[in-house]
């Protein structure tokens, strides 16, 4: 099945942003970034796609139809780093450029993996953020997304690494729980953490659903000020809790930039400006350049920290 994409004259390049699932503010913002890049590039049609529930199988089905309609490039935030490999390989064999972003695919299944930030940077930063909030002491719980979420799991590993540093000697991570990215379960798990560890000082929730639900749980349980919360959250969703002090600070990279950069990288790959080999420097518009590192991993930057002072500005954007 060696289908090659024929040159298409002045047809716009079809570049797809395939996200974990629809109906999530983070990815809607990613889509905006894609559109921005497309407008800037001119010859690109940006397509936003995702299954209605976050499953690898749903993404695979969509990729099959993308292969059939001979799109030019796909950027994927993967629900499963392994399960997508056979189909993305098939896509690449059909001449489609495939990269992953946000939540990666294992190296065999894509050319470049654009990670918003280094897993190490994210993990370490989360611990620093909570330490600043709790005054470098106390028990910390982690509320993650699903137990299968690879990016979260990687970050959490780094959190455990970071906390070994002597400056955190009065802190310990007591437990990792999973809210499955569902509001009610995340809420319940957050309450559970507070019940189980009456002396709990803080919660890290490196997922937008989780940090939101945990903030609400802290507020409802009357633990505002006693239990700190940080994590990765969307400013527009977290504005309330950041402004009222429940969540002192939290971080996130800019999803608009993520969509923008992914689209830029794909355009460069499709038009043959670069091949995506290790060491390649790809110029990505207003974001400057991205360097392809080991295993095709490219890093966008350090997560941005939001607090009371700056959140309103960003809430208007994403």
């Amino acid at each position: 099945s060696g289908q090659q994409s024929e040159p298409k004259g002045d047809q716009p390049l079809k570049i797809v942003l395939l996200v974990k699932s629809l109906g999530n503010g983070f990815f809607e913002a990613v889509a905006d970034g894609g559109k921005e890049a497309a407008a800037e590039l001119g010859n690109v049609e940006s397509i936003y796609q995702g299954p209605s529930t976050a499953t690898a199988e749903g993404q695979i089905d969509i990729i099959e139809s993308l292969i059939a309609q001979k799109v030019d490039g796909i950027a994927i935030s993967a629900n499963d780093r392994d399960a997508l490999i056979p189909v993305t390989k098939k896509a690449m064999a059909a001449g489609i450029k495939v990269i992953s972003f946000d939540s990666g695919i294992a190296p065999a299944g894509r050319i470049v993996d654009l990670i918003p930030s280094d897993a190490e940077l994210i993990g370490r930063q989360q611990v620093q953020l909570i330490a600043e909030l709790t005054g470098y002491k106390g028990q910390i719980g982690i509320l993650s997304a699903t137990s299968q979420a690879t990016n979260q799991n990687l970050w959490i590993e780094w959190m455990f690494e970071e906390i070994k540093d002597p400056k955190y000697k009065d802190m310990e991570i007591v437990e990792v729980v999973y809210g499955d990215d569902a509001a009610d379960k995340s809420y319940r798990e957050a309450v559970g953490l507070m019940q189980k560890y009456p002396g709990l000082a803080g919660i890290i929730s490196p997922t937008t659903v989780g940090v939101l639900a945990a903030s609400k749980a802290i507020e409802d349980e009357g633990m505002k000020g006693k239990v700190q919360i940080t994590g990765l959250g969307l400013p527009s969703e977290m504005q309330h809790y950041v402004e009222n002090g429940t969540c002192g600070q939290m971080a996130l990279w800019n999803p608009v930039d993520l969509g923008y950069t992914s689209t830029m990288i794909l355009e460069a790959l499709i038009t043959g400006k670069v091949d995506g080999n290790v060491g390649d420097k790809i110029s990505v518009g207003r974001m400057g350049t991205v360097t392809v590192g080991k295993d095709g991993v490219s890093i966008m930057g350090t997560p941005f920290v939001f607090n009371k002072d700056n959140i309103a500005t960003y809430a208007a954007m994403f």
């Binding site: 059939a68 499963d80 399960a83 699903t146």
Partner: protein, 347 residues
């Protein structure tokens, strides 16, 4: 006299027309007729919108996206036809895929891996059957619980890890093509299975017994039909087929995680009821289900081709499900009324 004759003949003409209409009507009133019509409509629409739809390669390749659900639908036909239900299919797939990954990571070859998957699937089906038939707990209740139970086992052991190493040749089942063609193995495999199911259901005594049980389990039992044995067999068959699906799916995606095939049980059940199998048992045909499988499969594929959002897709399938049931009801009602009218006129 003359006038009378013409009247009579025109009357006959009207009758002929009516008969033709009622013939079309009765074809439409048959579920399969409706499905065929919808499929034709779908093909016309899609082939006008996008050049990629009526493309032999694409049509073949698209089947990868729905053949596994189609295979899972086959035993569900038997289960629903005999008045039962099973919503643990996807969970059995997870458990069975997990056990295959386990076997493979302990050095099993392709044959052993496959046998492991099928055996675990069949065992899980038997587990359901024991609770449903031997202990008499309603099927929906049992499979609701085992849905968490089966998937829970694989999650408890596998945690956040995945099995990603399978023997080289294992990938053929879910990714391979019939040698020398671009026809996916999965497609042919499904068609063969569907043929066997159709034969069993419509031509054998086993099929007769299934219908009898679905219509009246008591009367069937009094007539010497081994009701419980057949129901038991159905659940084991369902487990076994979930195991087969696990083989195909695991092979296609080359890895196993506990959340594999999430939500597939409802999709497979949807295919079966859309295919005209009465949810209360005793009514339905394989042909209808095969049509609904290809209808839903290609509909989703076609909507994907024109990049319709997933939200439009779920709304469309929802409406399709309801209208497909509504149309025959309406036609039937109209048909009945006409028939009665004609009867009354004839006296």
């Amino acid at each position: 006299m003359e006038i009378d004759k013409t009247l009579a003949s025109s009357d006959r003409l009207v009758d002929e027309n009516k008969r033709l209409i009622s013939k079309i009507g009765s074809l439409l009133a048959r579920w399969e007729g409706i499905l065929v019509l919808i499929i034709i409509g779908m093909v016309i629409v899609f082939s006008n919108i996008t050049p990629y739809f009526l493309d032999y390669f694409n049509l073949m390749n698209a089947t990868f996206t729905f053949m596994e659900k189609a295979v899972l639908a086959l035993p569900i036909i038997f289960i629903i036809l005999s008045g039962d239900i099973d919503i643990s299919g996807a969970a059995i797939i997870a458990l069975s895929s997990f056990s295959m990954g386990f076997a493979s990571s302990h050095g099993a070859g392709t044959a052993q891996v496959v046998i492991t998957g099928l055996a675990v699937g069949a065992l899980a089906g038997a587990f359901n059957a024991v609770f449903i038939i031997n202990f008499g707990i309603p099927a929906i209740a049992v499979t609701l619980a085992t849905q968490s139970f089966f998937r829970g086992i694989s999650q408890a052991i596998l945690e956040d890890q995945a099995y990603t190493h399978y023997p080289e040749s294992f990938s053929y089942f879910g990714q391979g093509y019939i040698p020398g063609t671009i026809i996916p193995f999965e497609l042919i495999f499904f068609l063969v299975l569907a043929g066997i199911f159709a034969y069993v259901l419509h031509f054998t005594s086993y099929g007769r017994k299934l219908y009898a049980i679905g219509n009246s389990a008591t009367a069937a039992r009094f007539s010497g039909v081994p009701v419980n044995r057949i129901r038991f067999t159905n659940f084991v068959l369902h487990g076994l087929f979930a195991g087969i699906v696990a083989v195909l799916l695991t092979s296609r995606i080359g890895s196993t995680r506990p959340n594999i095939a999430n939500g597939w049980e409802l999709e497979a059940i949807t295919l079966v009821v859309l295919g005209g199998v009465s949810i209360t048992g005793g009514k339905g045909s394989i042909v209808g289900v095969i049509l609904s499988i290809f209808l839903i499969g290609y509909l989703k594929f076609g909507m994907g081709l024109i990049n319709l959002s997933a939200k439009v897709m779920i709304i469309t399938t929802g409406f399709l499900l309801i209208t497909a049931v509504l149309i025959p009801v309406i036609i039937d009602a109209v048909g009945r009324r006409n028939k009665l009218k004609m009867q009354r006129r004839r006296g």
